[in-house]
């Protein structure tokens, strides 16, 4: 029963990721694609968590926090590139 519920939630998260992938391919503007990439990263976190429950191990818990940090940094970098044109400024007061 428990395995079945975990498999069902994996399938639901996979379908959600596929829908985000549709938005990633189809999205009319660049911010749409950035948001969908960020959400795909968060879905990957969920998939990793469910997989670590299914495999009955806690060896992947580092991966979860790691993916969260990387998704945040990537989204911030993309947003700054869209807004200012450069990612790392030399002097922001100029």
């Amino acid at each position: 029963m428990f395995e079945w519920v975990m498999g069902l939630s994996l399938v639901i998260v996979a379908i959600s990721t596929l829908m985000y992938f549709y938005r990633l391919v189809k999205g009319p503007t660049v911010p749409d694609r950035i948001i969908s990439l960020d959400a795909i990263g968060i879905n990957l976190i969920g998939i990793t968590a469910i997989f670590s429950i299914v495999m009955n191990t806690d060896a992947f818990l580092e991966v979860i926090l790691l993916l969260g940090v990387l998704a945040f940094i990537g989204t911030v970098a993309f947003s700054k590139f869209l807004e200012k044109g450069e990612i790392i400024e030399n002097d922001r007061d100029k």
Binding site: V76, E83, K84, I87, I88, N90, D91, D93
Partner: protein, 145 residues
């Protein structure tokens, strides 16, 4: 903080980064020290530390990050290589082969008996090399003058 006429106002991003920076640094230190028994180690710990510094570079700029962390990352790389080689040569002093590691309980004042391993020093060298190389690459690419 100086009051200047900026074009954009990044107060939300900067406040978030000021909090998240320390969480990422603590997490990277945890990853570094947990590498002996659980997943982690010097490589991924160094990558997380450098990603925290990259977040600092994203929220502020190169000058501010250099004033917060006044470090020449080339020296960091060199010191990491020195630490890695030093742990290898240290075993030669005891008549052991190169890079022969040792571990055992050590009595430390205020902390008591702690199991220490010289492999951690080698891993610390790896950590410093990864931080130095990553930050050198990113700073060299980022400086568009």
């Amino acid at each position: 903080m100086r009051r200047t006429n900026r074009k954009t106002n990044d107060v939300i991003l900067q406040t978030t980064v000021q909090t998240v920076f320390f969480i990422i640094v603590i997490y990277s230190v945890h990853l570094f020290f947990s590498g002996h028994y659980t997943p982690g180690g010097g490589f991924i710990g160094g990558l997380m530390t450098s990603s925290a510094i990259v977040l600092l570079l994203l929220a502020f700029d190169v000058k501010t990050a250099a004033s917060i962390l006044p470090v020449n990352y080339l020296y960091v790389t060199a010191f990491g290589l020195l630490a890695a080689i030093g742990t290898g040569i240290g075993s030669l002093l005891y008549g052991m082969p190169f890079l022969k590691h040792w571990h055992g309980p050590v009595h430390i004042p205020f902390l008591g008996e702690i199991e220490l391993a010289t492999a951690t020093l080698f891993d610390f060298g790896v950590y410093l090399v990864v931080v130095g190389v990553t930050m050198t690459i990113i700073q060299t690419i980022g400086e568009t003058e």
